[in-house]
């Protein structure tokens, strides 16, 4: 109802600056860059990310041999940053995939089965979304402990409703389409209809959500690490690096720049991709009409 009144930005107004091409091109090349860094982090890092050297403590940016400086233990920040890629991106990606799988299954299920299952799934999703996720994540991590999988599982399980809600709404629409109804008439089994006919229709939406959710999960992961409730304390995740930099804001202000900057880079990249894909599929949908 709100959308119909034009309260939220109405979709489908195309201006020059709104063309998806630029966003996708910039976002895509940045993603490629990030992907290469993540793949080659071992080769690119000059130092052991965990090995400190008391003689090179708190060296500033552009110190010879330490492009991004060193931290309070004399560890090379660039090397830690590079080794942070598999950690930070890995946790965020795992959490996103868990949320997507659980959310998609729940959303499809709710769309397929009317009655109490649908009510239950939708109500649970609403309840979880209404609650500040970080608060629950803090409590859960505090109990089950830090680490890659505890973090990925907690974030994934806590955020499935974001996928479920969208998948439910879209799947409900797709199930009304003629070709799906026809498949049903021909006696195709339920789960086959969902997988063969409904799931492909969800692909553009899921891709957009994947990009945005990935960004959200990266922020959530670094926030939890920042609060001391994320990755193991030694792990070179970007959130941990930021948490350490907090103690040295006055002494070593450069310590926060690298991890902060790389988080922003990844999040902006994912936002660009998400927006670009969203606009692209919208344009396509309009072209079909």
């Amino acid at each position: 109802m709100t959308t119909a009144f034009g309260l939220l930005p109405r979709l489908g107004i195309l201006r020059r600056s709104n063309r998806p091409g630029i966003q996708l091109a910039v976002g895509g090349s940045l993603l490629l860059f990030i992907f290469i860094l993540a793949l080659l982090h071992r080769q690119l890092a000059a130092y052991d990310p965990l090995a400190g050297d008391i003689l090179t403590r708190l060296k500033p940016l552009l110190t010879p041999g330490h492009l991004l400086g060193t931290d309070q233990l004399g560890r090379d920040i660039l090397s830690r940053l590079l080794f942070g890629f598999p950690w930070s991106l890995g946790i965020a990606l795992a959490a996103t995939l868990i949320a997507m799988i659980v959310g998609t299954v729940a959303g499809l299920w709710a769309a397929w089965v009317p009655g109490w299952i649908r009510t239950f799934i939708n109500r649970s999703a609403d309840t979880i979304i209404a609650f500040p996720g970080l608060v629950i994540a803090i409590c859960v991590i505090a109990v089950i402990g830090r680490g890659f999988w505890p973090l990925a599982l907690t974030l994934g399980v806590l955020t499935w409703p974001f996928f479920a809600r969208v998948v439910y709404a879209e799947a409900l629409g797709l199930l009304q389409r003629e070709y799906v109804l026809a498949a049903e008439l021909f006696g195709v089994q339920g789960w086959r209809i969902l997988i063969r006919h409904v799931l492909p229709g969800l692909r553009p939406t899921l891709m957009v959500m994947l990009a945005f959710h990935f960004a959200d999960m990266l922020i959530a992961e670094s926030a939890l690490s920042f609060l001391g409730l994320g990755a193991p304390i030694q792990a070179p995740t970007w959130g941990n690096m930021l948490a350490e930099s907090r103690q040295y804001l006055f002494l070593a202000p450069w310590m926060m720049l690298a991890p902060g900057g790389v988080i922003v880079l990844v999040v902006v990249t994912l936002n660009l991709l998400g927006d670009g894909i969203a606009k692209l599929s919208r344009d396509k949908a309009r072209a079909v009409e």
């Binding site: 009144f5 930005p9 107004i13 309840t127 608060v135 902060g260």
Partner: protein, 310 residues
């Protein structure tokens, strides 16, 4: 505005289910730790102490009985005493509600004060070069997590310029950085929504009508386009309150702000379960209350919805 008794009852029902699921989650979370008594006594505890704590808190009873007792206690706002300092957890938590609400309130004001004029300016003529540049800046700002923004602001205002204190909760000067930090969680997004809504509203037929009766550019923007654009913005702020509380937790930790979030994070490091349970419970009630309030407020602001019931 009509007041529908059934709608009120339904809301209370939703709240009850909501709270029950939260406290149940917390109860089983405590069980997940293995032996709660061990958590309470700590590593240094002797077997005798352990046994005593188990008896005292009823951890030796069957799980179902413990759960029922837990619920009965909660119904009387009895969360037990803090492991850390033996004070009642609920009153510890209630003392922290004020500062958190203050921080959230201030930051909502700051968010609106930044996002509404900026969004209106960006949205009024979206193709002007300086506005495209502004739009790109806001787009990047949207990718900056709030706690990174907070650290950057400490760097700038406390370390380099030495204008503002970076920590604490005494005096208005210490409020500024936390407020701006929490505002940075939502302001860029809200700016983009306001800008998009203003751009959208500027294309509407009623803007043409206003121009036809002589309204100038500023009147068009502030009196005709913005009121419509702000309806969407209100909805966004209301819907994002839970997110704002998450942000408040981080902000409070960064600035040692004595609110619910800081208390909660401290409590989790010692697994001080009574405090954790009380804090989460209070946050849940708070979020629910604000969501309900924004629903009502939204109906009040939008004249098209005003005629309908709650």
């Amino acid at each position: 505005m009509s007041f529908d008794a059934r709608a009120v009852v339904r809301r209370i029902g939703v709240l009850a289910v909501f709270l029950l699921s939260v406290v149940t989650l917390l109860f089983f979370l405590l069980q997940l730790t293995g032996d709660p008594a061990e958590v309470m006594v700590g590593d240094s505890g002797t077997p005798e102490q352990l046994e005593q704590v188990r008896k005292q808190y009823g951890f030796d009873r069957p799980l179902a009985e413990q759960y029922v007792r837990y619920l009965v206690n909660l119904a009387q706002f009895d969360f037990g005493v803090s492991f850390a300092n033996d004070q009642p957890a609920f009153s510890l938590v209630m003392d922290r509600v004020g500062p958190t609400l203050l921080l959230t309130f201030l930051s909502i004001i700051a968010t609106l004060a930044i996002a509404v004029p900026l969004g209106a300016w960006l949205g009024a003529r979206p193709d002007a070069p300086e506005r495209i540049a502004g739009g790109i800046a806001v787009y990047i700002a949207q990718g900056v997590p709030g706690f990174v923004a907070g650290l950057l602001m400490i760097q700038l205002f406390a370390v380099h310029l030495r204008w503002l204190p970076s920590i604490g909760h005494e005096g208005v000067a210490t409020w500024i950085l936390p407020t701006l930090t929490l505002a940075s969680f939502l302001a860029p997004k809200l700016t983009r929504v306001v800008a998009a809504n203003v751009t959208e509203a500027m294309r509407e037929d009623y803007i043409r009508t206003a121009r036809a009766s002589g309204a100038g550019p500023s009147g068009l923007l502030w009196r005709h386009a913005l009121p419509n654009a702000l309806l969407g913005a209100t909805a966004l702020v209301g819907a994002q309150f839970a997110f704002l509380i998450s942000g408040a937790v981080i902000t409070e930790v960064i600035f040692a702000w004595p609110g619910l979030g800081w208390l909660l994070v401290k409590a989790t490091t010692t697994l001080d379960f009574p405090v954790i349970q009380a804090a989460v419970f209070v946050i849940a009630v708070l979020v629910f209350a604000v969501n309900t309030l924004t629903d009502v407020l939204f109906r009040f602001i939008d004249p098209r919805l005003r005629t309908k019931g709650i």
